[in-house]
Amino acid sequence: MKYVDEFRDGDVARGLAAAITREARADRNYSFMEFCGGHTHAISRYGVTDLLPPNVRMIHGPGCPVCVLPIGRIDLAIELALERGVTICTYGDCMRVPASESLSLLKAKALVDKTRADIRMIYSATDALALARAEPQREVVFFAIGFETTTPPTALVIKQAKAEGLANFSVLCNHVLTPAAISSILESPEVRQYGTVPLDGFVGPAHVSTVIGSQPYEFFAEEYRKPVVIAGFEPLDVMQAIRMLVRQVNEGRAEVENEFTRAVTREGNLKAQQLVSEVFELRRSFEWRGLGEVPYSALRIRADFAAHDAEAKFALEYRSVADNKACECGAILRGVKKPQDCKLFATVCTPENPMGSCMVSSEGACAAHFTYGRFRDIDVVAA
């Protein structure tokens, strides 16, 4: 694949690994958090940790849209499908997120009254819009999730629905914001007070940054003295970013650097930002799985578009539901624990039967470790 294989070249990777090993000072440890699930996935899938020296450690961050979705939000979607006769359309990863009463959207799909409702996996927000257009008697709700990357397409379909007067189409908005989550981690007692999570810098988001630009991270670099290097989702991008972070730490700098210059600018995509602010406004507070209530960390649909806001249209009331007590997703999402520290990991919690959200999406820290890396936890012994 032209323009992709170049970013997965094994020889270049070994060269970069040697450079990181050479530049990382032997007398100290380096702990970097990759914010995005996309990075977590790339690191696990390509075995990047095998190439890093032992004193450079990667901590998985909360940037997996499915992982941070609290149970209560999925419950709302299931309630719409099962009790209100609504057809829910959503992205594939959402289907298996565990909800209350051992349900998930995938399990609820088998219970839905198919004569009027359904739960469908779609690839793009416009697919949901097209369904509503083609079947006016069907009440369609797009269950929208994701960080800033997936927000502009949602804004677009809401505008389009309003322009066309599509009365049977609305959006259940769960869009969340990256900078708020980074703040929440930096403000957490584990990082600020106790220092139990040593954090020397961030590998900054790839796709999110194409939309919001690199500017929003300047505050973290300056205020918290943490270097940020924005990196693409290819494994070589990640390694290059790690090398840049090591250099910043060594030189005592805390700046925002951009490794992903082929897609990210300082300002970001102004047109997309404009579109988003036209349709959405900040929520005062939003619950995140793992991080709890985070102020001004999510978006809701503006009153102008209330006819297409499922929360308003169906008068939905959010109820917070606690995670399984033994589930460590919260601590894992904050970087306090590793997947293998959780008692449920690979015992009752597996990708087939996820107890917590980190085991659901392939971008989740637990699923990535289970799927690609769990052989490292145990000595492989000959039979």
């Binding site: 390509y46 992205y91 594939g92 994701g146 999406s361 289970f370 492989v380 012994v381």
Partner: protein, 349 residues
Amino acid sequence: MKKGYVRPLDLKHGRVDMSHGAGGRAMAQLIEELFLKAFDNEWLRQQNDQANFAIATVPGSRMVMATDSHVVSPLFFPGGDIGCLSVHGTINDVAMAGAKPLYLAASFIIEEGFALGELARIVDSMARAAREAGVPIVTGDTKVVEQGKGDGVFITTTGIGVVPPGVNVSGDRARPGDAILVSGFVGDHGTAIMSKRESLAFDTEIVSDTAALHGLVASMVDAVPDIHVLRDPTRGGLATTLNEIARQAGVGMMLEEAAIPVQPQVNAACEFLGLDPLYVANEGKLVAICATEHADLLLAAMRAHPLGTYAARIGEVHADTHHFVQMKTAFGGKRIVDWLSGEQLPRIC
């Protein structure tokens, strides 16, 4: 009016209705004009409810039997359709015992309202596939279900075959030190199907690899009678098949990512959809495991066959009580190639 005249089936505009499954004249007509005509052979001509045949067995040979239901959507896809797929699928299941497939049975569940013209296309495609493979469809059944209770047509095929003496192929025979081979590019069928699902608007020239593999298997068994394992990596793809074998045989495996043949356009489409070609279905590929000293000979035999041109040696079996299938990535690291969990779902970001 001509005496005894029966108006032929209207293949252009006609549709299947409940009477086609009711056991009366309409059903008899459907069977005669469509199925018998297409599949025509001496067993079907006898018009019994079962096929009678003798099987000349050599001492030490064994019978094998396999069945497979086909519910593919869409029914017609680049490179094939449910018809030829249902013939290839069962022939391959029989052949993966190292057997020569002999006879097939086919059972149809058709949804009321299904166009007769499409049914004819499917049946013709089955007939062609069976003829090309030299494995006749000798008995069958047809049922019609009400509209909304099926998805066009479901086809179940069952096949029987004979394993020659001295051949003992089984999933539990993978041994530490054995070589793992694959017969060609992986991921073609699933990617072709995916590209035609209505929800996905993208064009590609990827076609399904659907094919009957018994010819390839015959030349492989000729070259190396002691093949330990053969399996066709259909649903769940190569990764799932290797995990099944690892568990069955109680071993681990180490693959070389760079050695696994994947067409660039399949790689690109999977990249685009957030899928992994190792988990995407194949319908004309097989995995073979044999003693390492036989590997070169077996690989040469595979490459000499038109369905094995791009065959490759992709890894090795080793001892591992955890039965992990691991892979050295082209990038230079190591990772697990795990069981597929649930359906393969595209990622969001």
